[in-house]
């Protein structure tokens, strides 16, 4: 079944892939240390870093305070329905894209989540029995085999790449919510989900800012890996990272390292 659903987009995918790969093809390399190097596709790094700095500032001034305010002032009883309402408003788009990806199982999940919540939509579906699924045009293009293209840091909207920026634009026009309720509805949903996901990530973002050696590079890496995982919908094959790490350096018990005891 998984083969079938991935296979349906394959023919179109091959055509797109051929175009996309020419941009990011790497040369084979015999160096084992470089073999796993994924060439970072970020030719716009300098302007991207500049926009990133702007986004970080904007986050500190607007989004983070909004998220903290929401966390501290919104009664807990209302947080669940608000979260569910926003999740439900993504389901029509997820349904559409699951269909386009040939993934009928997830289409059914999105549809039943939305339909089950319909009677209580504006109460936000107080008792969801289906987990929401999130699919967008960037993921659909990925399933069809499109490469990511260069990394792009979008002002306000944050990390993206050529494929996902294309997806964002496409979604603006084909989102059923926007067609039915107008673009104010999609913008409102976008702002709401930004505040909510920022609220969910307050600690993680602080941790990442404090512990990363290069915050920009960390965000770029996380974004790329997260999108791959989202396209593969969490299947185990998605996580076969770092296969070149073997035990040849660690087969013997590790020697005591000198600075160990002196660490503060």
């Amino acid at each position: 079944m998984p083969l079938l659903k991935r296979g349906s987009g394959r023919i179109l995918g091959v055509a797109l892939l051929a175009v996309a790969l020419t941009a990011c093809a790497g040369t084979p390399n015999d160096d084992p240390d470089a073999a796993a190097d994924v060439e970072i596709n970020d030719p716009l790094e300098i302007p991207n870093r500049f926009i990133f700095a702007f986004n970080v500032g904007l986050d500190q001034l607007v989004l983070q305070p909004a998220a903290v305010t929401y966390r501290d002032l919104m009664p807990d009883e209302l947080k669940v329905p608000i979260g569910n309402l926003i999740a439900n408003l993504f389901m029509p788009l997820s349904f559409l894209h699951s269909m386009l990806q040939g993934d009928f199982e997830r289409a059914e999940m999105a549809a039943s989540r939305f339909v089950a919540s319909a009677p209580t939509l504006f109460l936000g579906n107080p008792f969801p029995d289906r987990a929401p699924v999130y699919e967008d045009a960037g993921q659909t293009l990925g399933v069809w085999g499109a490469g990511t293209g260069p990394y792009i840091m979008l002002p306000v909207l944050g990390p993206s790449n050529v494929r996902d920026t294309t997806g964002t634009i496409v979604d603006f026009f084909i989102d059923p919510l926007g067609i039915v309720a107008g673009s104010q509805a999609t913008i409102g949903r976008g702002v709401g989900s930004a505040v909510l996901s920022r609220e969910g990530n307050l600690e993680q973002v602080r941790d990442l800012q404090r512990n990363s050696v290069d915050y920009y590079a960390a965000v770029r890496s996380l974004y790329g890996q997260r999108r791959v995982a989202e396209i593969k919908n969490g299947s185990l094959e998605a996580t076969q990272a770092a296969p070149t790490i073997g035990l040849e350096l660690d087969f013997e018990p590790a020697p005591k390292q000198s600075s160990a005891a002196t660490t503060q």
Partner: protein, 208 residues
């Protein structure tokens, strides 16, 4: 009543055949990898989240578990990528020590914020191994920071004989080794390929 001799004659080889044919050996490392992760996690939760510990004690305990459970040298080298080759012997030694220290400090401090979260090993699957002598398993687990939305953590466990070591950890599909590698190579690249800038930052992180 004694069994007729022919039953023994048949049953003996039959039993031997059944034992030999049991596929236990093929996927034994999967079970063992799951148990390895569960026991390491149990010990980490028990020792690191116990009350009344100083940060130093926690770091020391974490260092012991980290050395025992992780292929530190392999990970450290992977994370440095192509820059390992160009590094001097002195830089390599310092880098290895710093890499371990910084991870120990970061993670031991993170553990201080955990208390009573549930950790649950789910299943293990075979993964391709780059080395003939090694088996690789991906052990999937869930970490419940709250009961509604567990975090999916996948452990990549390489094994050789009785030795089991973690070579990577993925959180919601995001590989720690890949992330660290992307960060480190970004720092080194923006310093015209010199590893010294990275060592500077790591020194500050260790001491900071």
């Amino acid at each position: 009543m004694a069994l007729p001799r022919w039953t023994i004659a048949i049953a003996g080889p039959l039993v031997a055949l059944i034992i030999a044919a049991t596929p236990a050996n093929a996927d034994q490392h999967l079970t063992a990898s799951s148990e390895f992760i569960q026991s390491l996690a149990d010990r980490a939760i028990n020792t690191l989240t116990a009350d009344g510990q100083t940060p130093e004690m926690r770091r020391q305990e974490f260092r012991g578990l980290f050395r025992e459970g992780f292929a530190i040298n392999g990970i450290a080298r992977f994370v440095l990528g192509r820059y390992w080759r160009g590094a001097s012997e002195a830089d390599r030694t310092e880098y290895m020590a710093l890499f371990e220290d910084v991870i120990v400090n970061t993670w031991a401090d993170r553990f201080s914020e955990y208390s009573g979260e549930k950790f649950e090993v789910q299943q293990a699957v075979n993964a391709p191994s780059a080395h003939k002598a090694e088996n690789v398993a991906i052990v999937r687990s869930l970490f419940f920071s709250d009961p509604q939305t567990p975090v999916r953590i996948d452990w990549r466990v390489a094994s050789r004989g009785d030795i089991y070591k973690i070579t990577d950890v993925s959180v919601e599909g995001i590989s720690m080794a890949n992330t660290q590698r992307d960060e480190f190579s970004s720092v080194i690249r923006s310093n015209s390929g010199e590893i010294s800038a990275l060592l500077d930052i790591l020194r500050k992180k260790r001491d900071g």
